[in-house]
Symmetry: C2
């Protein structure tokens, strides 16, 4: 006889945690008849399998057992040095290897940040819309979400300022400032400076999530927020998922050494250390400079896809539909006429043979119902075009009904 | 100007979390002049580097990108099937692949279990002594620890029974029943049955941590507790750290599918999925049967080391010192005369040139001060002998003073 009710065993928090509906959608969108612009996966053709093979052989021959043993919780020193070097040379960010910890993807970074800083009910500023899986991580700590809307220049800093003046008291502001997920927009330089000013005045931290920083297809490079920070109030989350391969589950946290010491203690209780073998692979990848060639290839692969998405939107969408025109990343954000509920429209889209993620999934508290996210990295160019054509047809049907 | 006080930013729980003193000890014990019987690491000569190299090449050639992409949160199906098969054939445990989830080592399993079940203040039964890193994981959830002592036959079930009769109300009992860390002892079959009976009567779960199950050097195999469970009250934690290599950070949880569904949602918020590349390596390792040859090699490598440890203790220790004589695993547990505090004695031991972990680290609430843990897997046989000789000298000095 099995246990009748499993619910009674759960903690209150665990009772609240249920599978995201996006998961079911992504499952449904796997059908061969559906063009999925819903996912958020990098394209497998951007993964350097041959290179990983060569590196794997090399490190096992040269270092052998060292790459298979437990490692330190902070992560492999060589890899942390390479990351520090890259951020110094490429992103004008002055950070010591001792201020970098390797994590199991940036998802673990988000969880660690939540664990370290959030008390139940704490004010937490997020963008509206924001990265879905960050909400999943932060939900573990029951924060009081404060949403600040975006425009094409990123988070609306005026609105943040107003909310701070009105007395919100966040431990940190969470932002994906460059090629945001889901909206694709980038926080302009002036806003980065203003955000840092506010962080000093109102004594909060900035959690900068930067998974797409290296995926710029046009326009001028903009440095991460952390490079504008002379008070070490910014904690930056990076990942190898978009510049090497997500299957390694490797990311990093960088920031004030004192915060890192606390995050290290917490990480130790989660998994002792990150995958050591994969850390050595990532180290060789950076050390030998292969990373630069590879990122160029990734950019050459994605740039035309993005072009096709934006052109197709232009070609097919009715006049009263808007979308963001990002200079990099993996997504564009579409705003439909106000009377269309993108969530309600999804079934029609699936019937027509195209999938997207409706915008409501990306809001912490107050969804904007007429919005949706389109991904352009995972499908072929012709499919993107066909998918947008189908989606436009569904929108037109809605408008006509 | 940097932030003056970082403490103010932390959650109450994070403020409490500080680095374990054992970490500093292990760092100190790395000195070349010290024979360290303190660690808990597998020996690097037991890691099959050549095999991992061959498998890495094979999977990258044959499956390529699939092994580098994101995977499901539950883990690679093929690997879960191989684990299910092995536990069915070898450990008499009937479990479906859908009731197995891959984790980042068993450490992540421990954290997930804590998250799913523990409310602050909940009664939690642990062995005394118990696995140190389990306490580190559970500490995140502030349980009320109830200690049940061990003898050579594992957890003293009579004492557990008494405590249950007296009204403790645990969600689960945590045990390392086979070649326990730190004590090396194994719960006898009759006690496994009695524990399951009590779990039914008092409606609690059993969390069975089984990292050393495959490392038996002598005696008869004993099946895991989960194989005695016809109510699916047991959740079993396994790991590849001792039967392949810890650097992959791969473990698994198996139990009632309904619990697994909840644990899956929680894991998703922690790291989305476990390292996919390493999962494919572990899959090939099991699928091709190399695992059996390899485990035989590991056993042949450790068995004489254990023998040397036990013989040296016999040869050198004064009469009033006791120790456990495990049939497998990585540790033996030493009980000194009652008036010796093993923690206070540690400095003398380090000066003499030998390190151990004093017993107090392994108790949730009430340390037995005259106890210590010795590891025999990581050092060479001659060093084990020499280390025990030195340790015996330190004990004799204490007794004489």
């Amino acid at each position: 006889m099995a246990i009748k009710s499993v619910e009674n065993f759960y903690s209150e928090k665990a009772k609240d945690m249920v599978a995201s509906e996006v998961k079911d959608l992504l499952e449904a969108a796997k059908s061969e008849d559906i063009i999925s612009l819903a996912g958020g996966l990098p394209h497998p053709r951007t993964f350097p399998s041959d290179l990983v093979k060569n590196i794997s052989c090399k490190i096992l021959e040269e270092k052998g057992a060292e790459t298979l043993q437990y490692g330190t919780t902070m992560g492999f020193k060589g890899l942390r040095e390479e990351i520090a070097k890259r951020y110094r040379n490429k992103f004008n960010t002055d950070i010591e290897p001792d201020s970098i910890m390797i994590t199991a993807g940036s998802q673990q970074g988000l969880f660690l940040i939540g664990r370290a800083f959030l008390e139940s009910g704490d004010d937490l500023v997020v963008e509206a819309p924001t990265y879905l899986a960050a909400l999943t991580a932060f939900e573990n700590f029951s924060p009081n979400y404060i949403e600040v809307p975006l425009d094409e220049d990123g988070m609306k800093i005026d609105i943040l300022k107003q909310k701070l003046e009105n007395g919100i008291n966040p431990k940190f502001v969470y932002t994906v400032p460059t090629f945001q997920n889901p909206a694709g927009v980038t926080m302009e330089e002036e806003n980065r400076r203003r955000l840092m000013e506010l962080s000093r005045k109102y004594d909060f931290l900035v959690i900068e999530d930067g998974p797409y920083n290296e995926l710029r297809y046009k326009g001028e490079r903009i440095n991460p927020i952390i490079s504008y920070d002379n008070e070490k109030r910014t904690i930056f989350l990076g990942t190898f998922s978009k510049i090497l391969a997500p299957g390694f589950r490797l990311g990093w946290i960088m920031g004030d050494r004192r915060f890192l010491e606390k995050l290290e203690v917490i990480k130790q209780s989660l998994d002792i250390c990150s995958n050591v073998f994969s850390q050595h692979i990532a180290y060789e990848y950076m050390k030998t400079g292969k990373i630069d060639e590879q990122i160029k290839k990734i950019i050459r692969f994605y740039e035309p896809k993005q072009q096709v998405l934006l052109e197709s939107l232009e070609d097919y969408m009715p006049d009263n539909v808007d979308w963001t025109t990002p200079e990099g990343g993996m997504f564009s954000w579409v705003t439909l006429p106000e009377n269309i509920d993108a969530k309600a429209m999804l079934n029609e889209a699936l019937e027509e043979g195209v999938a997207y993620v409706s915008g409501h999934a990306f809001y912490a508290t107050s969804p904007v119902k007429n919005s949706l996210r389109l991904n352009f990295t995972f499908v072929e160019e012709e499919e993107i075009r066909e998918g947008v054509r189908k989606l436009a047809k569904v929108v037109e049907n809605r408008l006509a009904s």
